[in-house]
């Protein structure tokens, strides 16, 4: 049997909002694009998210947030990712995130931020083009 790599993605919802329609739509789109998508449900702490990414050895983390707490939660998540040495993981985000916050989020290592109404094709394409290199 030949060796085959599958793209593994964690879709996570940090914090206290309970709207996961968007997260589920993205999860489903990525699944239908042939990826293995791990979904962990609502109200995750940064610690839970990063620990899950580590155990599942995902290539990509997608964070969905609508509560407005991204400025508090995302930096903590990025910090933990560094702490745990997950250098080969790409992180993107989506949800309700004001335009003016995006540069700051990109500065801490979030590769892209997708707003409401983003076509799922665009997200799939982005993930495929920005996969972290692994040896």
């Amino acid at each position: 049997m030949q060796s085959t790599r599958k793209i593994r993605v964690l879709i996570a919802k940090p914090g206290l909002d309970s709207h996961d329609r968007g997260a589920k739509v993205v999860a489903r789109a990525l699944r239908d694009a042939g990826m293995e998508v791990i979904y962990t449900g609502l109200r995750q702490t940064p610690e839970q998210i990063v620990e899950t990414a580590l155990q599942e050895d995902v290539d990509v983390i997608g964070l969905s947030i609508l509560s407005g707490a991204h400025k508090a939660l995302f930096p903590r998540i990025m910090e933990l990712i560094k702490e745990k040495g997950l250098t080969d993981v790409m992180v993107f985000a989506g949800g309700i995130i004001p335009e003016e916050d995006i540069p700051e989020l990109k500065k801490i290592g979030i590769k892209e931020v997708f707003g409401p109404g983003t076509p799922t094709d665009k997200i799939i394409k982005f993930v495929l083009e920005n996969l972290p290199k692994r040896t």
């Binding site: 049997m1 030949q2 060796s3 085959t4 790599r5 599958k6 593994r8 999860a27 489903r28 990525l30 699944r31 239908d32 694009a33 042939g34 990826m35 293995e36 998508v37 791990i38 979904y39 962990t40 449900g41 995750q44 702490t45 610690e47 839970q48 620990e51 899950t52 580590l54 155990q55 599942e56 050895d57 745990k84 040495g85 040896t135």
Partner: protein, 317 residues
Amino acid sequence: MSKTEEIVKGVLAGNKRSIAKAITLIENNDPEAKKLLAHVYSHTGKAHIIGITGPGGSGKSTLIEKIVREYRRNGKKVGVIAVDPTSPFTGGAFLGDRIRMQELSTDEDVFIRSMATRNYLGGIARATKDAVKVLDASGKDVIIVETVGAGQSEVEIIKIADSVVVIHAPGLGDEIQAIKAGLMEIADIFVVNKADRENADKAVIDIQSMLQLNNKEKAWKPPIIKTVALTGEGVTELIEKLEEHRKFLEKEKARKKSLSKAEAELVEAIKEQTANSIIEKLRKEGTLEEVLQKIVKKEIDPVSAAEKLLKEKFKKE
């Protein structure tokens, strides 16, 4: 030190990132995976491997969360592999078993991995067996494998588990239809989950009467335990029974069971390696396409083609 050696070292020390990387190599069928497994093999055999199977919606994931907590209270280190199906159309998979196990993620002595079947049949993934070995070598005392939740053909689990728990719940369709054929015979322990529901006792009686029909005298009689996974009711009793079964295996059947497990593993390995080497050879020679075409055109049937190829292979060697 090579990268693989580093991963092996990490696995044996119980390092979570190394365990995760090792399982990925196995899942991707990386050439390094064989080397890795050869290194960890001598460190395996200590863990109690528990298979949990049953129809979708019977409460497997929720119950596993409670089982893990109970084992943790007893000071055991626990590994979980939760298998979900891969779509045969897109190759993708939605792995959602962790939703019920959220809080376990941050426990230092629990390791959970979601695994897609990648089109392997029988309720587990091709990589499940070897991933269990990695967790075993990493020092886990108990390893729980949750199969795909379909219900009739998840019998592959007996090849890797010491104890098989078959879960059912009342109100999931035609009584115990779902655990009829295959699953009935592989159970070491039956669980009737959602026991706070109506008809739970009827489900218990149904299983009892099926077991009575199966009147071969067996040294181990599968107990039936009622649980309510949401509240944790009955879980302590389930753990006690699992512990009893583990001791039973150690005492009486251990040798026999592990020999038959070893045989199953050997057969599996021979199959895979033989198939790989033949397919590789055909591919190199450029004749694979030709053979496949013949089969498609019905000029030869797959069994005869296989026979021919095997004869050729073993004549030369």
